[in-house]
Subunit: 135 residues, 3 copies
């Protein structure tokens, strides 16, 4: 069973904490021990794990990424004007697997799972697929 989470983003670049929703999907799937595959079925959005304490961390990540990969780079050919978002997505990644033990996501103290929007605002999805642990 794949659980589809709906994510509504509100700006062009945004990182949204979806940890609770992923945890709920794992609980619903009944996984005890294994891995939670978080997968983004888009080409201008990604998923990563980051600090959920100080919101300045998320700000700094998005700001520096935008400085390295500006939207209006004159070398881009893609006519939709969102090549920056495609590259950011491949750098951040669109699939992350988080260990699960005793039905709980095994995250570090400061870790949260973040949906990363790079070309919003849009209605987006995050897929959660539970993978079996070895016996």
């Amino acid at each position: 069973m794949i659980k589809t989470l709906n994510v509504r983003t509100g700006s062009r670049c945004q990182m949204i904490d979806v940890t609770d929703e992923v945890q709920a999907a794992v609980r619903e799937a009944g996984l005890v021990d294994g891995g939670a595959l978080c997968y983004v079925p888009h080409t201008t959005a990604g998923v990563t794990i980051q600090e959920n304490a100080d919101p300045d961390v998320v700000h700094d990540i998005l700001w520096k990424l935008g400085q390295l990969i500006p939207r209006d780079d004159s070398g881009f050919r893609h006519s939709e004007g969102n090549s920056d978002a495609h590259l950011k997505c491949s750098l951040i990644g669109m699939s992350q697997t988080v260990p699960v033990e005793g039905g709980r996501l095994v995250l570090g103290t400061w870790q949260g799972i973040y949906f990363c929007e790079f070309d919003g605002p849009r209605h987006r999805q995050l897929l959660v697929r539970c993978l079996a642990g070895s016996p």
Copy 2:
């Protein structure tokens, strides 16, 4: 069972759509529900998921990566002259896991799986390992 796909690249930097080959490997393995681990056993090539509609997207990704990480940076020490390729590979990633449901890769509408060559042309491999879904 691990399925080995052979990929022949034709230039130094190139992204090749291998979606059909990965789907065939999943079918051959008989996986119904779970995940398809796509793994690159090289250190100057990677694998990502990207848009398969407009080839300009792939062009822009490779072009901008090359601008950020030029081959002939004078600070590089590695004598083979391909340190740029090593870094690109670690940024793009060498392992991606795609959800599988009902025997099919669950990809977004515009998504394709791309083998990413950063130091070709070469004969390369992509490994596909099917992972079991939780019951």
Copy 3:
């Protein structure tokens, strides 16, 4: 069962080869065929696969990353002064899955698994979770 590896890093930015420790964890878990999920429960460290032959490769990766994402960028807001480390970690990635066959990690000839410290020196952990292969 999740196996926790303890990693002691010795400088601010460092890549440490943990291949042998991950292989031992896979052996201990008794996994024959499947995948070894390597997961970093931190937000300023990551894990990647890279060349284990010439140490200049690791030098060049860390050097170039530091050039692209300098620690003291005046645009950073996060008061701990390690926003560079947070971004590097999300770019390199904190979860990698390596195929396992016959009880052995399936790595390419020149590949090693590297714990990537971006804000050390610290006592760190790497989690290894074995995932079941499909039958």
